[in-house]
């Protein structure tokens, strides 16, 4: 059986005429945790948005295959239905829409099955308990007046409820204090299983100590310049990205995939 979940091949993308991704190659199998590190402006968030299908991010070359099917032109909501999830770096505030109503609607859309109010409440309470989120949050308006940490926790709650096959976490640990990072990381770890995969975009190693990723990739100037394991993350923590920046421009990442 083919265990490949997503295959990104020679992916190039631009935003408002500016070339950001310049040939990304990445394969993720079921059950794997991949980490993408890189300096500011290297294209990490662009990659996350392209994978989710943001209309402002144009794919100019290359392919994204999900479970063997090309999804280059697939609408955002249909990607979600296929099992792709993006934890936003800056989650949107939606006044007037409660967390519970929103998540029940989303769960109905993603599964194609009506969610009974009672059963869903039960499910939501269970996930909230797991992530140490106060029950009162179910009745609050989505992200409205949430602190940075609460917003990030809420993203993980959404992931817990929607149970995606592939979760892309865009700097989910940024702006969190040590304790909040720990809670969020433990939540993510609980959700991680042999049936799902994660691409974690981060600046920090603290979250990685909890998650024990399988692969670490370094993204510089729109290209993955080096891949390895946790030792790569530790090296970057010590030495930064300087040495990769010099190589990035010359590097040809083009492959025959």
């Amino acid at each position: 059986m083919d265990n490949k979940l997503i295959k990104i091949c020679n992916l190039e993308s631009r935003v408002e005429e500016e070339e950001i991704l310049k040939g990304i190659n990445l394969e993720v199998e079921k059950g794997e945790i991949h980490v993408i590190m890189g300096p500011n402006g290297s294209g990490k968030s662009t990659l996350a948005n392209v994978l989710m299908g943001h209309p402002d991010y144009e794919i100019t070359a290359g392919e994204v295959d999900f479970e063997g099917e090309n999804i280059n032109d697939l609408a955002v909501d249909k990607r979600a239905k296929k099992g792709i999830f993006l934890s936003f770096q800056y989650p949107q505030e939606i006044p007037g829409v409660t967390v519970e109503n929103f998540l029940r609607t989303a769960k109905t859309s993603v599964t194609g099955e009506n969610q009974s109010i009672f059963d869903f409440k039960f499910l939501l309470e269970e996930k909230m308990k797991m992530l140490d989120i106060d029950e009162s949050y179910a009745d609050r308006y989505l992200n409205k007046g949430f602190s940075g940490g609460e917003k990030k926790k809420n993203e993980i709650l959404q992931m817990a409820v929607l149970e995606p096959k592939l979760a892309v976490l865009d700097e989910t640990d940024s702006g969190l204090d040590v304790d909040a990072t720990k809670t969020v990381a433990e939540g993510i770890k609980k959700l991680s299983s042999k049936d799902n995969s994660m691409i974690i975009i981060t600046h920090h190693n603290q979250i990685l100590d909890y998650l024990e990723p399988d692969y670490v990739h370094v993204l510089v100037e729109g290209k993955i310049v080096k891949s390895g394991g946790m030792e790569l993350a530790r090296e970057i923590e010590k030495n930064g990205y300087a040495e990769y920046k010099e190589d990035a421009e010359k590097l040809n990442t083009k492959t025959n995939c």
Partner: protein, 467 residues
């Protein structure tokens, strides 16, 4: 590329049906003294009313058409037939209402609404009320709910004391026009201390081509009385421009409480130039709930005059303008006594090139010390072709008033749509969700059946097919 959503317009087939016109009486086009006299004679009105009409006509001819707000230059007032009476005498039993009129009402849900224990139904078909009913127990308590024409004759003294005293013919051109040609409407009188615990509902609509509608609503609540009046409007669509210039006068006595709810859904050729005013005495409360969805042009600014100490006004309004609509709505509050309180909460939405404005006035007289006012108006535009804005005006003659004010204008955010879609929600549902969230504080204030209707209207407005 991502799929695009086609947002269709509301399906108005339910509202836009019309019956064949069989009319007993049709006044000639244009307004003369003779026409006014005929109208009054036909109605068997007392002399003072005939004279009031004629005086209003004179004022109407002198007044200029307002040059602010919406463009109403295409409105041909001379061409509007002002008085049309359907071929049906006033009925108080549903079974006696003529079949074709009934069919129209049936599709608008009138009898069902009554079955759901509404206190009484006064349904205005063209200019006169054809159906009227009020539950027995209310009659026994001395509550009067009847059509305005008969009230002029049967309760002449009360009517004469209040009729067009809050809205006078001198106020503006369309108030004068109303004074001259008013026809139909509802009269409600609630004696002191009586609590009408079921809402009174009126439903009126226009049916004849070129027919203007000038219904007059007069509600009087004596000391400590409590009532909820629901006004619903819908009109079929015609090619001739239609004019609606009704008047609503509400007298809220000491410690009395009145809630006045409206959802207006006129057809898209209607000029809705309605005037509504409430005068509130000591410790009295007026609550306005107002939804404006239909019409080509609306200019509607319900006014609350807080006349007695500790009087209170609340206004909750929503306006939704689609293609070709110019909806200029808002609320006016006059703090004319100490310790008075007002809260205005308004939302306007514009899509497909529609224009929705909030225009409000907050006035505090010199003696309105220790008063409190709060205004919150927000606008949401669903695309780049639509225009929405808020124009709140304040005129304060005292410093001793606590004012909270918030105005926001914004476009629906692409990032918010992307966020919701990333959770599997379709573009159409994402937009509807954002709009429903935007009006949520308003929907909370509505009676349940209106909240449902509001939701349905929003869904219809945003309905589309995924390409």
């Amino acid at each position: 590329m991502a799929d695009k959503t086609q947002v269709n317009d509301i399906d108005r087939s339910l509202y836009d049906q019309k019956n064949e016109n069989i009319y007993k009486y049709k006044s000639q086009k244009g307004l003369t003294k003779e026409v006014i006299k005929e109208i009054s004679k036909e109605k068997n009105e007392p002399k003072w009313m005939t004279e009031f009409r004629l005086k209003s006509l004179e004022i109407y001819k002198e007044k200029e058409v307002p040059d602010w707000g919406a463009d109403i230059s295409e409105l041909d007032i001379d061409n509007i037939i002002t008085y049309i009476r359907p071929d049906a005498e006033l009925q108080n039993d549903w079974n006696d209402v003529p079949e074709d009129i009934k069919n129209t009402f049936d599709s608008l849900g009138i009898p069902e609404a009554e079955k759901k224990s509404l206190a009484g139904v006064g349904a205005q078909y063209d200019s006169e009320v054809v159906y009227h009913n009020l539950k027995k127990e209310l009659v026994e308590q001395g509550v009067i709910y009847m059509d305005m024409e008969n009230a002029v004759k049967e309760y002449e003294d009360i009517v004469k004391e209040h009729f067009m005293k809050l809205i006078t013919p001198n106020d503006h051109k369309f108030a004068a026009l109303h004074g001259a040609v008013w026809s139909g409407g509802s009269f409600v009188y609630v004696p002191a201390g009586i609590d009408v615990d079921i809402p009174l509902q009126s439903y009126f609509r226009l049916n004849a081509p070129g027919a203007g509608q000038f219904e007059h609503t007069l509600i009087i609540l004596e000391e400590g009385a409590d009532a909820h009046f629901i006004e619903g409007c819908s009109a079929p669509k015609y090619s001739v421009n239609n004019l609606h210039a009704g008047a609503v006068e509400l007298f809220v006595g000491k410690k009395a409480k009145l809630r006045y709810s409206t959802i207006e859904n006129w057809s898209r050729n209607m000029y809705n130039l309605n005037t509504k005013r409430a005068k509130v005495e000591e410790d009295g409360v007026i609550e306005w709930v107002s939804g404006s969805f239909g019409s080509r042009v609306s200019m509607l600014y319900p006014m609350s005059i807080l006349n007695g100490e500790r009087a209170r006004a609340e206004f909750t309004g929503i306006t939704f303008a689609a293609e070709g609509q110019y909806l200029d709505t808002g609320a006016q509050v006059i703090h004319a006594a100490p310790h008075t309180t007002s809260t205005v909460n308004a939302r306007s939405i514009a899509k497909d090139g529609g224009q929705a404005y909030y225009r409000g006035l907050l006035k505090a007289a010199k003696n309105a010390h220790h008063s409190k006012a709060s205004v919150s108006c927000e606008s949401l535009m669903l695309d780049n072709d639509s225009i929405s804005d808020t124009l709140p005006i304040m005129k304060l003659q005292t410093d001793d008033i606590d004012i909270g004010h918030e105005a926001k204008v914004g476009r629906i955010s692409e990032e918010a749509i992307f966020y919701l879609m990333s959770r599997g929600i379709s573009e159409e549902e994402a937009k509807a969700m954002i709009v429903r969230g935007f009006v949520e504080p308003i929907a909370n204030e509505l009676p349940l059946e209106y909240a449902v209707e509001l939701n349905n209207l929003i869904n219809l407005e945003l309905e589309g097919t995924i390409g």
